[in-house]
Each structure stands twice: as structure tokens, then as C-alpha cells.
Symmetry: C2
Subunit: 186 residues, 2 copies
């Protein structure tokens, strides 16, 4: 099946990018992971930039759905936030990987523009969701919620970056706990 191989390419590529970054992603290694030849990847993705953009787009769509699902379930603010921060912890637990958007964000200056745009999209999606969660508490403070959402997103990305740097998930957990103690995160 077409979708099958394409999916396997994207899945393997995502894991590599979250581990080694966009620059660390090579068609040859990727092909080995999937079990095909590197030239075959070009059948699905004409260029590396196209693959990168597709990766980021899919990542946003996936977590967009996951987060949306939480709201649909009618979870309260604290539970939403706890699950949110757990997603990033799980990523670290999977071989010290970084959020795809965090990794690509750092590499921003060497990314093709099509990839850059998708990475920004992920951040905006996160901020929008966070703002909606915060709105459960302060429905009438729209602007404040948006600022707070952005700060939370940045702080969580930072916590993941530092924990990734030290290859130690407990660093992430401790920092998140401190954010909560400071009421940055509800």
C-alpha cells in the first residue's frame, strides 16, 4: 500500500528529527530504517524540504487532535494542564527526544521556508489550545489568557530543552513542578 510506506517513512523521519534534528536526517539512513532504497523516498517526497514540511504539518495535526479531544471530554483546567505537560515528558522518555517543533525551532535559520512556516503553526496551535484551557478559569480575560498561554508554551519548551540537554527527565519534572508552585501553570 502507498499510504503504508509513506507513513513508515514519515514515522521514521519524525523519530530521527526529534533525536538528531533536521540536519541529522539523511535519506540514506532513513531508507535503511524503513527498509527501502534512498531513491525511493523521492517517489513520495520530491525534496527534503517537502518531507520536513509534511512532517511538521502532520505533527501539528496529530497533537491538535489529541488536545482537542481533551476539551471534548470536558476535563478541568488542572487535568488538561497535567496531561499537556505529560506529553512533553513522554517525548523525553522516548530516548531523550525533543518535541519536533522545539528541535526544528532551534534549527530555524537553516530550514527551508516551507518547513519554517509549519513549525510556527505548531506553536500557534499550542498557544490557542492553552488559551482556551485558561479561558475555563477566566472567560472574560482574553488577552491575558493569550499572553499566559504563550508564556506557558515557551516555559514548557524551555524545560524540555534543558532536560534534553542533560539527558534527564527528572529535570523536566522538577522544573514543571516549580512552574506550578509559581502558578505559571494552573
Amino acid at each position: 500500500m502507498t499510504a503504508d510506506t509513506k507513513d513508515r517513512i514519515m514515522e521514521a523521519a519524525r523519530l530521527t528529527v526529534q533525536d538528531l534534528g533536521y540536519g541529522g536526517l539523511s535519506f540514506r539512513e532513513l531508507a535503511k530504517d524503513v527498509g527501502i532504497k534512498s531513491a525511493s523516498i523521492h517517489y513520495y517526497f520530491a525534496t527534503k524540504g517537502e518531507l520536513g514540511a509534511a512532517l511538521a504539518n502532520r505533527y501539528t495535526a496529530h497533537y491538535g487532535a489529541v488536545l482537542e479531544d481533551m476539551l471534548t471530554q470536558g476535563l478541568d483546567v488542572e487535568t488538561c494542564m497535567a496531561r499537556y505537560t505529560e506529553v512533553f515528558a513522554d517525548t523525553l522518555r522516548a530516548d531523550n527526544r525533543l518535541c519536533l517543533a522545539g528541535m526544528l525551532g532551534a534549527e530555524r535559520n537553516q530550514l527551508p521556508e516551507e518547513v519554517q512556516a509549519e513549525v510556527v503553526e505548531y506553536g500557534i496551535m499550542n498557544e490557542r489550545w492553552l488559551a482556551r484551557v485558561l479561558a475555563m478559569r477566566n472567560p472574560d480575560r482574553h488577552e491575558e489568557n493569550e499572553r499566559q498561554a504563550r508564556a506557558i508554551y515557551a516555559a514548557v519548551q524551555g524545560a524540555q530543552l534543558i532536560a534534553h540537554t542533560r539527558n534527564d527527565v527528572s529535570v523536566y519534572e522538577e522544573i514543571i513542578a516549580t512552574y506550578r508552585a509559581n502558578h505559571l501553570i494552573p
Copy 2:
């Protein structure tokens, strides 16, 4: 002079790594920037890893001295913190560059071990300094200050990462302001 060329190599390399990352640093491009041949860089730095480690070490030493100087001047907590966050803002203002340790931290999984170690050192140095600043307020709460220091460091790195991703310093400034409003940063 020897020190002169070596310094110019390190300075150019630092700027490139903060822009494009360790993976984006090539001996040939670096040589062009400095005005020598790529093989000559090996005269000063046997391997790329050695150069990377020297870069990070120097970066830590430089900012360690800058921060130490603030304490010597007897500045108050708010002024120290304001100057601290301004350093990262200035880095962004210089062609959307990232803190060297933030960039290398993201690339952690593909760095030579010698470089990894130096990057961690930078973070520890920052946390120690922040904890000392916080101790001006709460001299008897050592452990709390250390946790708070780490959270501040992570949050600032995160703010810089997100602003870097969007190539917009005002995003950094806004997030830092929100941290302050939350009393995460004094």
C-alpha cells in the same frame, strides 16, 4: 600573532553556531569567514569536537565573568534579573541568534561528548548565579532558590527558543514580561 587568529576563528565559529548550529558549522565556511584555509584551522583545533568544546568553554567563562561582575557591583535583585534577561534579548537582536548553549543543547544527541559536557556546564553556571541573586531576597531558603533558579533558566531559554523560531524579538520581550507578572522572575 597566534592568539589573534585563534581568537578570530573562535569568534567566527561562535557566531555561526549561534546562527546555524554545530551541524551548520563547516571548516571551509569558517575558514572563508576568517580569511585562511580550512586546513589551517586544524593547526589550532585538531578536531571539530575540540573546537566546539573550546567554544562552549569560552562562552561559559565569558558570561560567567559578566554575571559575576554584576554581583560585585552590588546591584539589587530586580536590576540583576533585568540585565540577565536583556543578554538573551541582545543575542536575538544580533541576527536572530540563539544562546550558544541553547543551540548546542538542542543538538545534544549528535554532539561529541566533550562538547556535551561543556554545554551542561554553562547551564549549571547560570543556575548557580541565579540562585545567588535569589538569595539576596531569601537567604535562608537555599533549596527553594535552586529550584527557582533552574525554572527561571529553563523559562528564559524557552522564551528565546520560541522568539528565535518566529524570528521576532518582541515575542521574547512579551514572554519575559509575562514571567515577571507571574512572579516567576523577580
